[in-house]
């Protein structure tokens, strides 16, 4: 190895060995860091439990995909790619930074195994890495300072702009890159080595070229200064991370490891408490900060403030008082304030509702899942919303507009309070040749068609039930409908925080479904499907009618006529609970595309897992939100922009909301909306 002309470990500083300082900086830095982290962990230790140690292999895969491979970053291409550069730069430069710290006390320290070719290769890679990080950071800074992407803006009610913090951190990173390169470059210059072409155009290369020819003593000074700056910046940065959005540098690995493994489901009221024990639980849901689970608190710490969740949030888009990003930021600020670095945690716990969150903010969420789909560090929001709502329901804080349907659900099993005995009245309109069997008449079949409330009772949506029955019949499916003993699936009752009412509906339905002796269930409502699949226990397999249609088309049981009017352009709207929450994107498209002569376009950028919620289903139909615009209107406009005349969906709530939105948008006669089953039913070959 080449003898190095100077080294921070042997240098003198103001008549003292610099080694003393370079031992002190890491020592103080690490003690401070350990203290800060211990304080940050304080609220997590008082939080509700959150079992996260099951299914470890899946968790490791998630870490590899979402954390290491930065899977979700390119969904926002420019920022995503730049982040990937910085992220991998950090990973590569980690070894170098540690080496530098030790070089301050151990003269000529090299990691074991890095003495030979591997070390030389690493040196080349890290020179490019630090240069790439520097360039990325510079672009990010220009973007932040001058282009100011809208999603970073902080609305006034949420406090001050976060740009200064972002720029400060970018400055710290740039300082680290420059000082490391200056340290290396000054050393190369002093060694008089011809700079290898392998590192051409890197920062190190630039420093070595610029500094070559200077006197050794000058170079030693530059080298020592660069070292000191790097050392100080490094430990300052480390201790600064847990004070803001850059905490994610530390927490994201853990946050991704512990993130939710499943979509569509809702966390129980309390982990470790069975449904039967719910009566003994003193308080439901989240009322104070400490009622959150530790994982949910870790979510708050991990928020990168990137604004992607809120950028995709339909509630935020239409001006409802909800921005998921600030659900996290406000809770993080609360944690920092109430668990200070010094002194005891503040005793004056304030209720979250009325404290940092408003009632309307929490009711505004449609649980569409767009935020969770987007979050690059696996933060979840739906469970938090549901937990906060459980707390509000427990305290009686339920908007009047929701109390009536909830009461009707309790008494009649449907939100309109319609008579139970009329639940199967829609079957009268199915048409000749199709006999709908009813469990209430003692009939059974292999397949149960679970209709749910809106499709059973709403005049318009009954057409979906009738079309579904005709298609099932045409596809030779032997099916039965429960009738009066079927209750609302309770899907949105649960998501609106009324757990006990949900439990009651679930019990009644489970009993009715068991009594039907069906071996599989088919539904047309994705909400009901999600409830039966992810909220109920021990149910037979549940299939959405679109999956069944796609299958019947494939095996030739359903044959479709060409479209009579081929002049119209169709588009498919992915219902949140069919697509994002249950991953069914292709079956409905296959079914639509199977109609000869049908022209279909995608709402590019707003389809599949980026579908824009229509406004929400279940109890959301009754909620009267504060908003500037209806979500459905935005959706209709997106369809319009895509060049569509007909929106096809596969959910009765989407149909309701979009049908209303077409009227509100004044597009009646120009746009129409259909359920997939209506479209298919109209084209059946008899």
């Amino acid at each position: 190895m080449v003898h190095e002309p100077f080294s921070p470990a042997t240098a003198m500083l103001a008549g003292m060995p610099a080694k003393v300082l370079f031992a002190l900086i890491p020592l103080v830095g690490l003690v401070c860091f350990a203290w800060i982290i211990a304080r940050r962990l304080a609220p997590l230790l008082r939080a509700a439990p959150h079992p996260c140690w099951q299914r470890i292999p899946e968790r490791i895969l998630l870490v590899l995909k979402i954390w290491l491979a930065q899977w979700r970053q390119p969904r926002y291409m420019l920022a995503g790619v730049l982040h990937i550069v910085v992220f991998f730069g950090f990973l590569i430069l980690g070894a170098r930074s540690m080496q530098l710290v030790i070089l301050g006390v151990v003269d000529g320290f090299v990691w074991p195994g890095f003495g030979g070719t591997l070390g030389a290769a690493y040196n080349v890679v890290k020179d490019f890495a630090s240069t790439a990080v520097f360039v990325a950071v510079a672009i990010l800074a220009v973007r932040r300072a001058f282009f100011k992407p809208a999603r970073y803006a902080v609305p006034e009610k949420y406090g001050k702009d976060h740009t200064p913090e972002a720029l400060f951190v970018l400055g710290l990173i740039a300082t680290l890159m420059i000082s490391e390169s200056a340290f290396e470059g000054s050393l190369l210059a002093a060694q008089g080595e011809s700079v290898t072409s392998a590192t051409v155009l890197t920062l190190t290369w630039g420093f070595a070229r610029t500094l070559s020819g200077l006197q050794t003593s000058t170079l030693a000074g530059i080298n020592l200064a660069a070292y000191a700056i790097h050392d100080l910046t490094f430990f300052f940065f480390l201790c600064f991370l847990p004070f803001g959005k850059h905490f994610h540098v530390i927490t994201s690995l853990f946050n991704v490891f512990f993130m939710r493994l499943q979509t569509g489901n809702i966390k129980p009221v309390a982990y470790g408490i069975s449904d039967a024990q719910l009566d003994d639980v003193k308080s439901f849901g989240v009322k104070e900060f400490e009622d959150f689970t530790w994982k949910h608190m870790l979510d708050f710490y991990s928020c990168v403030d990137c604004g992607r969740c809120s950028d995709r949030c339909p509630a935020n888009a239409v001006g409802r008082p909800l921005s998921p990003r600030f659900i996290s930021i406000k809770a993080r600020d609360y944690a920092f304030e109430h668990y200070p670095l010094f002194g005891n945690a503040k005793a004056d716990a304030v209720p979250l509702i009325g404290g940092i969150y408003s009632e309307d903010e929490i009711w505004s969420c449609t649980t569409c899942g767009a935020c969770e789909e987007e979050c690059p560090v696996g933060i979840e929001y739906i469970d938090k919303m549901v937990d906060l709502r459980r707390g509000m329901v427990d305290d009686g804080l339920v908007p009047q507009s929701l109390q009536k349907p909830m009461s009707a659900l309790e008494k009649r099993g449907n939100p309109w309070g319609k008579l139970e005995k009329k639940r199967a009245e829609w079957t009268a309109g199915v048409g000749e040749g199709v006999n709908v069997k009813l469990v209430e008449k003692g009939e059974t079949a292999e397949t149960l068609y679970f209709v749910d409330s809106i499709t059973s009772y709403d005049d318009r949506m009954q057409k979906i039930a009738q079309a579904t029955a005709r298609i099932l019949s045409k596809g030779d499916v032997d099916f039965v409908v429960i009738g009066k003993d079927e209750k609302d699936s309770g899907h949105d009752v649960r998501r609106f925080g009324e757990e006990m009412l949900f439990q009651s509906l679930k019990e009644q339905n489970s009993e009715a479904i068991r009594a039907s002796e069906a071996r599989r269930i088919v539904v047309n409502d994705p909400h009901a499907m999600n409830a039966l699949r992810n909220d109920y226990e021990d149910m037979p397999p549940v299939q959405h009618v679109s999956e069944m249609i796609a299958l019947c088309i494939e095996n030739g049981k359903l044959k479709l006529n060409p479209l009579a009017d081929a002049s119209k352009t169709y588009t498919y709207h992915d219902p949140c609970y069919l697509g994002r929450h249950n991953g069914t994107y292709d079956s409905p498209r296959q079914a639509i595309d199977a109609i000869p002569g049908l022209k279909r376009v995608e709402m590019k950028g707003n389809c599949r897992d980026r579908s824009f919620c229509c406004g929400g289903g279940g109890l959301m139909l009754f909620y009267e939100p504060e908003e500037e615009q209806r979500m459905g209107v935005v959706r209709v406009q997106q369809a319009c922009e895509a060049g569509a005349d007909v929106i096809v969906t596969a959910c009765p709530y989407c149909l309701t909301n979009i049908e209303d939105a077409i009227k509100v948008a004044g597009l009646e006669g120009r746009m129409e909306v259909l359920d997939l089953v209506e479209l298919v039913d109209g084209q059946l070959q008899h």
Partner: protein, 263 residues
Amino acid sequence: MEILVCVKRVPDAAENEIVVGAGGADIKREDLVYSVNEWDNYAVEEAVQIVEREGGNVTIVSMGDSEAEEVVRREMAMGAAQGLLLTDAAFDGSDGLGIATILAAAARKGEYDLILTGALADDGAGQVGGMLAALLDWPYASVVNKIETKDGKSLRIGREIEGGTQEISDIETPCVLSIQTGINEPRYVGIRGIRKVASIEIPILDAGALGLDAAAVGAAGANVRRIDYFVPQLGASAEMLEGSIEELAGKLVDLLKAKGGIR
């Protein structure tokens, strides 16, 4: 403050299809679901809020059969410590004065500073509150939509009067107030809330326990008897306005003015 709130179990108009029964003097009751009279729910919420603010107790009272217990319990779950159920076969068929007499007897058994009733109930008569006050010889105010507690001896109350105007008065306690909807936002009570108060015993008082002469109440004592129910006939047609949007708006404003809808 000790507050008594009178509540009634009624068929829920939103959750039933109301059909006149064969006899014509009542509705078909087989498939009905019942809940608390909506106005009473606001009265209970108001009482609970006053007690949360000032201290004291809320007692819920209902005259009805054993099924009314569920309604009493649901209202207790909003934050009332006690409930009373006034049940006797002799109470059946009571007219407004009969109900007021029974409630007054129950009120005399306690020491209340304030009695709240709903402004009206399913029969739309809106008479029990006033009669109850008269029987007790207490001051009374109807359709109250605002209550401020003052010095403990009187209340400052707001009443809704014609045309959306509000009248503010002071009223001495003890008094009876009939409560208008909209005075507050009643809290939600779910299955869980009711289960929390499931173990509280609700005393059941009959005519004897209330010191009432059974002949003075119920159908026997009633001075008003219901003769007939009928569904009004649908009008033959609606009036369709025609013209441009501006003309339509003008005609609509004229019509609304003529019918007293706007001034």
